[in-house]
Symmetry: C2
Subunit: 224 residues, 2 copies
């Protein structure tokens, strides 16, 4: 089994790979043919030692005084992230968020074609979103099988999210990305990630507060 010999890549490294990938594309776009770990670190917003360590998990070590070959590193990283093949995506829930995701420019051309749209609302089923007909959630099993859906995006209200997750899992969709503001559970064989749009705001307010001198002092017991 090829998989069993593979080095385990730490989760935190996996989470940084997309940042490196994006930075490398920017570098390539700007005409770079080689890139130092320092420059890549700066673009990705991490430190250079971490970049070198992370890339070493991919078997990339760069050349002293020259850095990494941008094209080769891009190829290698795309391969690791599975971007040398397409991963058809289904979006469930075509409210504002689902529509925004369906219209979001950055998916199709990065290997995640939006291959199916589902909703439960009879007023939404049959409408066109970004050139594609919204289908009934009842048709999900047949369409998932037919279009080899690899990732299901849940963009429904919170109350519907678990039911949709159950339907996606039952239909054999191996990965789920949940945008609904609620916890859902899936069988162990299904990969699940949750996007919480408030997290980024919390990170910003942390830094803003620090710039302003840090949080208010901890409350002190008052003797009376």
């Amino acid at each position: 089994m090829a998989a069993s010999n593979r080095r385990k890549i730490p989760e935190a490294t996996v989470a940084r790979l997309p940042l490196y990938l994006r930075s490398l594309f920017e570098g390539q776009h700007a005409g770079l043919t080689t890139i130092s770990s320092e420059r890549l670190a700066e673009l990705a917003g991490v430190n250079a030692a971490k970049v070198r360590k992370d890339l070493s998990y991919l078997g990339s070590y760069g050349t002293r005084g020259v850095g990494y070959d941008v094209d080769y590193l891009l190829f290698q990283m795309s391969r690791e992230l599975g971007l040398t093949q397409d991963w058809p995506v289904a979006i469930v829930g075509l409210g504002n968020l689902g529509q925004a995701l369906a219209n979001y420019g950055g998916f199709g051309d990065r290997g995640y074609p939006i291959a199916a749209l589902f909703d439960a609302d009879p007023n939404v089923i049959g409408t066109l979103v970004h050139g594609q007909t919204v289908r009934s959630i009842e048709e999900l099993p047949a369409i998932v099988a037919d279009r080899h859906i690899a990732i299901g995006i849940i963009a429904t209200p919170a109350v519907a999210a678990q039911d949709v997750a159950d339907r996606l899992a039952a239909a054999g969709v191996p990965s789920i990305l949940n945008f609904a503001p609620t916890m859902i559970s899936v069988p162990p064989a299904v990969s699940l990630r949750k996007v919480d749009l408030a997290v980024e705001l919390q990170i910003l307010s942390f830094y803003q507060q620090r710039k302003a001198g840090g949080p208010p002092a901890a409350p002190v017991a008052v003797l009376d």
Copy 2:
């Protein structure tokens, strides 16, 4: 200066604090009064040693055999993240994404009230979104000052993003969250974070590919 004595918290730790916070709220909701680092690690999807290390930056060490006091840790973490005060948010761009963000349940009740909405399109200006009137981008400086906007969210098309960032920075908005699929630059005094919705898809496809046995073998030179 209080700020200068403060321990520097690593960026990666800051990025995990919101995950701990969410997990603690879930624990509290489930009736927990104390929580072990192992349980918190499981909920947040990191390892327990990292949880203990991260929390030690906040001065929290827990009690051996008991764990951490959930309410106190929540208070402490909310304080670090600046959640004991409100951070008024302005959304610029009320297309599908901007509307989805304005309607997203999770902001206001977590300390990020949506305090202003702006657009440049005369057909959009004056409309109501989530009970609030969309104002002209030309009114941005006055409204930002009046409502003490702390965070500006850019939800415009890519071409408009830099102009909007310039306007937000000029109006004195200290933090910007960019959803537009493009790079923007801001003055050093402004904190900037970018949300790239494709990143989560890339992380999912990485794991999916690994489960299937890893990436295809690297290409081998063919002698002919």
